[in-house]
Structures are given as structure tokens and as C-alpha cells.
């Protein structure tokens, strides 16, 4: 019995080692064959965009298993234009700026609300590209018609979003009327809480809510603008040049129509895109 076990283990390990070295040699040959063909490849800069991977329609995991969304597609087009290698990095939204500083990504570009605190902290923020509103998402068959109706009810919000800071600051009076504010680690979790009747409403950016209403039956947005704000791209304080390069590339995409073409795929957000106004 013991011998059989030892044999099986040995075989397993051998298979594993073979698999690993197999992979290793394969990639190394790839590199060596690729290098002489394309000597410029090495000089290519990599541009890593930091996204919230659960933030449709701006950035999310598409049906094909690749990250997609409006922001991701625009960034990809920017990289193509500038000849950069495009990479995506999913940040932890409530630590996004720390991760940006740590160099895990080169920008945070994911339906990010421009906050004064970011500028004060020295981050380079691009020109705004999107007009956003904060809204309440509720179930279609619920009786709530305005934020006042939610007095004493449970409201979910994502931790680290501008909505959460609004409820803590400018909308503190409104938040105090709610029975409880539940913070989730992603909007999709907030929506699950709503779907499962654990909360009565979700406080969320309008395009995200609109996308959810379009894709899922039985929800509606309370028609009440609770906070106007704008989206931008954040770069490290030393990266003003990088920001200018990206902005120029976006402007070029707007000029040649690529930007509008990408926007067409996301009908819920087109009306609020500042470059297309």
C-alpha cells in the first residue's frame, strides 16, 4: 500500500515538474524567436490601467473573460494610438490611490469621481470626461418614489465610492434618516443585497444603475438627482506628462470618430460624455 502511494506521489510530482519545465521552455523559445523579428518590442512602454473590475458599464469582466467596458475600450484605443502595450490591473477600490502610488498601475481610470481631496493630495487628474449623478436604485414593485420614502430603511453603498463619502458629508442629513447604511465591497454585492431583499435601495452612480436596470428586470431608478459630480483619470503626482499624452490621444480618438464608435456600444452613458457634447 505504502509503495503504491509513494509511486503515485512520485508520478504526480514528475508530471508536475514536466508540466512546469514544459511551460517554461515554451515561453523562453517564444521570447527568443520574437526578439529578433521585432526589436522595437522591447522599447515599447507598458501602460497599466487601474480599474474596479466590478463596475459596469465602465469596467468589468466581459462574457469572453476579458476585461471590457467603456473606460477599458477607450484606454485600449489610446494605447494602440500611442503604441503602448496595454495592461489592466484590478485595484481594491478603497485602496486605489495607495496602489497607484505603489506603481501597481499607471493610472486609475474606472468611472472615478474627481474629488477635491485627490487634487489636494497632489494627484494629477485629467480633464473631466463624464457628468455623473448619484441616484437611488430600488425594486420596481417597491413603493419608494423619493429619497424621503426611504426613512428608516436599509440602503447599501460601495465602500470607497464617492456615494459613500457623499452620505458621510454633504448628504449626512439624508443618510441619518435611513435606518441603516450598509457598506459592501462592490456594487454587484450591493445589487445582490437588493435582489435578495436584504436592503431596500442602493445608492449608486447613475450609469451603473442604468446599466443594471437595462440588464435585469424588476428594478427602477428613483428620479431624483442627489449629487452631481464628474469622472476623471488619476495619475501619480509626477506623471503630468503622461496625463497630457493620454489626454491628447483621447482628443485624437474623439476627432477621428473612434471615441463615438466606442460610446455607441454603451447607450446608457452616451448622453453624459463631455467629449461628445
Amino acid at each position: 500500500m505504502k509503495k503504491v502511494l509513494a509511486l503515485v506521489l512520485a508520478l504526480l510530482m514528475a508530471a508536475l515538474m514536466f508540466g512546469l519545465t514544459g511551460c517554461g521552455s515554451k515561453t523562453s523559445t517564444d521570447v527568443t524567436t520574437a526578439a529578433p523579428d521585432a526589436p522595437t518590442e522591447a522599447a515599447k512602454t507598458t501602460f497599466t490601467m487601474g480599474i474596479d473590475p466590478e463596475y459596469p458599464p465602465f469596467s468589468y469582466l466581459g462574457d469572453d473573460g476579458e476585461y471590457t467596458g467603456f473606460d477599458v475600450e477607450v484606454c485600449k484605443a489610446v494605447c494602440e494610438k500611442l503604441g503602448w502595450e496595454f495592461k489592466v490591473f484590478g485595484v481594491n477600490w478603497d485602496e486605489k490611490l495607495v496602489q497607484l502610488d505603489a506603481g501597481e498601475c499607471d493610472c486609475v481610470w474606472s468611472g472615478m469621481t474627481i474629488l477635491d481631496s485627490m487634487k489636494e493630495a497632489g494627484y494629477v487628474i485629467s480633464a473631466p470626461y463624464f457628468d455623473n449623478e448619484q441616484v437611488l436604485l430600488v425594486k420596481d414593485d417597491s413603493p419608494y418614489q423619493s429619497s424621503k420614502d426611504l426613512a428608516g430603511k436599509e440602503v447599501a453603498v460601495q465602500l470607497g465610492t464617492s456615494g459613500e463619502s457623499l452620505l458621510n458629508e454633504d448628504l449626512k442629513d439624508l443618510a441619518d434618516t435611513f435606518g441603516n447604511v450598509v457598506t459592501c465591497d462592490s456594487f454587484l454585492k450591493c445589487f445582490t443585497e437588493l435582489a435578495g431583499n436584504a436592503v431596500d435601495a442602493v445608492f449608486v452612480d447613475k450609469p451603473v444603475a442604468a446599466d443594471y436596470v437595462a440588464k435585469n428586470e424588476g428594478y427602477r431608478i428613483i428620479d431624483e438627482d442627489l449629487g452631481a459630480e464628474q469622472y476623471g483619470i488619476a495619475f501619480r503626482s509626477a506623471d503630468a506628462d503622461l496625463c497630457a499624452q493620454v489626454e491628447a490621444a483621447v482628443a485624437a480618438l474623439v476627432a477621428d470618430g473612434t471615441y463615438a464608435k466606442i460610446a455607441e456600444k454603451y447607450p446608457d452613458i452616451v448622453a453624459n460624455l463631455l467629449y461628445l457634447k
Binding site: 458621510n168 445582490t192 435578495g196
Partner: protein, 216 residues
């Protein structure tokens, strides 16, 4: 926000952290014993079921179990997600910790020399009597250090309740850290957990001493 407000705000959440901790112990300690006894059953299907239970609960992450218990019933059967998150959180923690406790109990029970059972039989003790009066007291004494280990881990694991939006101390700490762009809440959380565990260590040390009546 002053340090005092931060600490007070997080102390509010500490109440919920304690709720997870004590309720989990309350349910998982007896449940673990049941699983351990079933695992030792001579009726194979039952012992096999207990083995599968332990294997699955130990072999999958607690975070996954939390999500499964909280949102699983909704996704699978359309049952509403519980408004009182403490219920699914405690269920998930209790079934998970019961699996670990069951194995600790087993290690204790199996470490008892066969001679004691034989001696008890000679003295006319019945099976259950032997277990309750002779074996179990010694087992408890023997497994206390391993139990302390697991209980200390439980204190720290409570922070995982954040995944299902349960507003315990660490969640509140994260909220403050985020709104104040400050690292201090994490330090406060660290101090809270450490003090909690020092108390657990102290209490368990006392219990060990009180139970050391077999020592010469």
C-alpha cells in the same frame, strides 16, 4: 475626526465582532463534538458522512462558505437574503469551526490509552459512563492548548464577515480609514484584536490551570 471618535466608533463595531465570536463558540463547540463522535462511529456510512463534512468544510475557504451561506439560498432557491446578517455569518462560522474542533476532539479521544477503557470495563462502567466520566475530562484537559489556538484564530477571522457586508469592527475601521485617508484605524483594529487575544490567552491559561487536577 479625533482619535477618540475613531476608537469609540470602532468600539461600537466591536460589539458585533464579539457577537460573532461568542455565538460561534456556543454552537461550534458542541457541534464539533457531535461530528467527532459520528466520525468515530462504527457504522461506516455515518462515519464516512462525518469525514466528508470535515473534508469539505476544512478544504474550502471560510470566505467562500460565508458567501455561500449568505447569498446561496437566494441564488439557488430565491429565498430572501437575511436582513440580520448575524444569522448567516454565525451559521457559516459555526459549521466551519465545528469541522476543526471535531478533529481536535478526535486527536484527544484517540490519544487515550486502551488500558483505561479496559480498566473501566473491569470496574463495571458502561460505555457512555466510561466516556463521560473517565475519558472526556482528560480529553478536555489535553486538547485545551489546540483549542486556544483555534479560538485565537477565530478572533481574527471575524474580520472576514466584511465580505457579506456585516458591519463589524474591521468594516467600520475600513470605512473610517477610507473617509479620513488615514492609516490609524488599522492600527486601532490591530490593537483591538491583539488585546482581545491576550484576554483569550489569559482566560484559557486559567482554564488549563483549573483543569490540571490529574497532574501529580
Amino acid at each position: 475626526m479625533t482619535l477618540m471618535t475613531m476608537v469609540l466608533k470602532m468600539a461600537e463595531g466591536l460589539e458585533k465582532t464579539c457577537a460573532i465570536f461568542f455565538l460561534t463558540l456556543l454552537f461550534s463547540i458542541p457541534l464539533g463534538m457531535i461530528v467527532a463522535l459520528l466520525r468515530g462511529s462504527r457504522f461506516k456510512p455515518i462515519s464516512w458522512l462525518a469525514k466528508v463534512y470535515i473534508s469539505v468544510l476544512r478544504g474550502t475557504p471560510l470566505m467562500l462558505q460565508l458567501i455561500a451561506v449568505t447569498y446561496g439560498p437566494y441564488y439557488l432557491f430565491g429565498i430572501s437574503v437575511s436582513r440580520n446578517k448575524l444569522i448567516p455569518v454565525v451559521i457559516a462560522f459555526a459549521i466551519n469551526y465545528a469541522a476543526y474542533f471535531a478533529e481536535i476532539y478526535r486527536s484527544g479521544i484517540e490519544s487515550m490509552p486502551v488500558g483505561q477503557y479496559e480498566a473501566a470495563q473491569v470496574l463495571g462502567y458502561s460505555g457512555p459512563q466510561t466516556f463521560m466520566k473517565i475519558i472526556l475530562p482528560q480529553v478536555i484537559r489535553r486538547i485545551l492548548p489546540s483549542m486556544t489556538n483555534e479560538i485565537v484564530t477565530l478572533v481574527k477571522d471575524t474580520s472576514m464577515a466584511f465580505t457579506v457586508s456585516y458591519q463589524e469592527m474591521f468594516t467600520i475601521g475600513k470605512q473610517i480609514a477610507n473617509s479620513q485617508t488615514s492609516f490609524i484605524p488599522f492600527i486601532v483594529a490591530g490593537v483591538f484584536y491583539y488585546v482581545f487575544n491576550v484576554i483569550v490567552g489569559f482566560v484559557m491559561g486559567r482554564v488549563e490551570k483549573a483543569m490540571s487536577y490529574y497532574q501529580m
